[in-house]
Subunit: 261 residues, 2 copies
């Protein structure tokens, strides 16, 4: 099995290093990740600047490449340049911090897995719901390994357009209650800009979010699962069409708008 690992915390981040070390027994592992942290880069790709590719030595695996681009760039680049005979699986992570609910839109980690599924490759994003400066990724790497094994050795039938978004609660192994299949919740933020003045007297802003609200009523939400110490697995696809309102929107009169304008 040929496995691509990537992330958005950058190629030297401890999360991807732990994942690389743990996954080698499943097959040939190639690491292709951003040369620096690219958190919150969403599904951005690099089309206005050239992209550089540099080999990196990582002790546990044979091949690693640092890319001057986004996580989505890394997946495109890897599949074109380093997996010419095909890629069997993409694992993105282990992200430092959760990727839950609405937040997945901003996540480079999840976007890398979305890019993988666009390219038809079974893909999994893995995040540890910890904001601690020093996090231990070994349990998360074990869990990612179990999920990948289930997905491929046991041929779980995941549709080709669907990836798994996995979040792991930041608690000891014996406190984790189990796995839960979830849907993405909604997380709302406020006070998102911190206004400051630089030494030259100019104003600048830091974008920061204070979580003010998240869906908490439905146990099937990813946000609730993590809070209740379950490993959350959400099936995510890349089709943003709101099919549920297709009928209603036809009644809004857009199709009858005049063209004599």
């Amino acid at each position: 099995m040929r496995i691509l690992l990537t992330n958005d915390d950058g190629i030297m981040a401890p999360g991807i290093q732990a994942l690389a070390k743990r996954m080698v027994d499943l097959g040939e592992v190639v690491l292709v990740a951003p040369d620096t942290e690219r958190s919150a880069s969403g599904h951005g790709i690099t089309i206005l600047d050239p992209i550089r590719v540099k080999p990196v030595k990582i002790s546990s695996i044979s091949e690693a490449w640092a890319i001057s681009g986004t996580p989505a760039d890394c997946v495109k680049m890897a599949v074109q340049e380093f997996f010419k005979d095909g890629c069997d699986m993409i694992l993105s992570g282990i992200n430092h911090g959760p990727n839950l609910g609405t937040d997945v839109l901003y996540s480079g980690t999840v976007s890398a897995a979305i890019e993988g599924s666009i390219l038809g490759i079974p893909s999994v994003a893995v995040s540890l719901a910890s904001f601690a400066v020093e996090s231990d990724y070994s349990l998360s790497a074990d869990i990612a390994h179990s999920i990948a094994e289930q997905l491929f050795k046991k041929k779980a039938n995941l549709p080709p357009n669907t990836l798994l978004n996995v979040n792991i609660p930041d608690v000891e192994a014996n406190l984790i209650k189990g796995y839960r299949i979830t849907k993405l919740g909604v997380r709302e933020y406020s006070n998102v800009f911190d206004r400051r003045v630089d030494p030259r007297g100019n104003t600048y802003y830091w974008l920061k979010g204070e979580l003010v609200k998240q869906d908490e009523m439905d146990p099937d939400l990813d946000t609730v699962a993590i809070k209740e110490k379950y490993i959350s697995i959400s099936p995510v696809h890349f089709d943003l069409t709101n099919y549920r309102i297709m009928k209603d929107i036809r009644k809004c009169g857009f199709e009858e708008l005049s063209l004599n304008i």
Copy 2:
């Protein structure tokens, strides 16, 4: 009505300028857009660098701000700093080039509208399906105006979590066949990296896409509507959960995985 205009082509792009000029009769228009082109920035936000905000003079409107960030940053910033009494509508565009099917994931223009809908504001992304260096945006601005008017003056009932992704064919007005409500198609690319060597002998890559395939069988797809010279209006939401496979995925055995790892 207080209207926010943004885009991903940058504040000085002709598409947003045409839109600003055309929308002023609908209410108070404020333009908050990236200070430079940010095409393909997806739903990225800027959390690793400070964000600068500068006032810009635009002849047709009273207030315009250039932001050193992504389109999603612009919407967050605008709503927090420049629309403290509320924002009634967000228009993102007019984008230079189509935003159809799978490509909307990469689009800063569409992501700005998605950010608007996350913040509960009725939002519309507008793109002109033209790659010509010089494009005429006046017809597209008229169409955007009609859609915005329909959406608000006539109180079309768009659910709060849904935005409209509008694409306009690049033909004369009399050749446009009408409006069509559509779903997002799939666009597949190949040969996505162009490998070159710089004057110092180092390799670099340009990310480019050659469209090799798009869904063409279903007239309800946005890709087909544009090809058939219809204005395409797709209802888009920001929930990436694949609800259709929730039942099937429960049969994949993930919830029964051992925790003794």
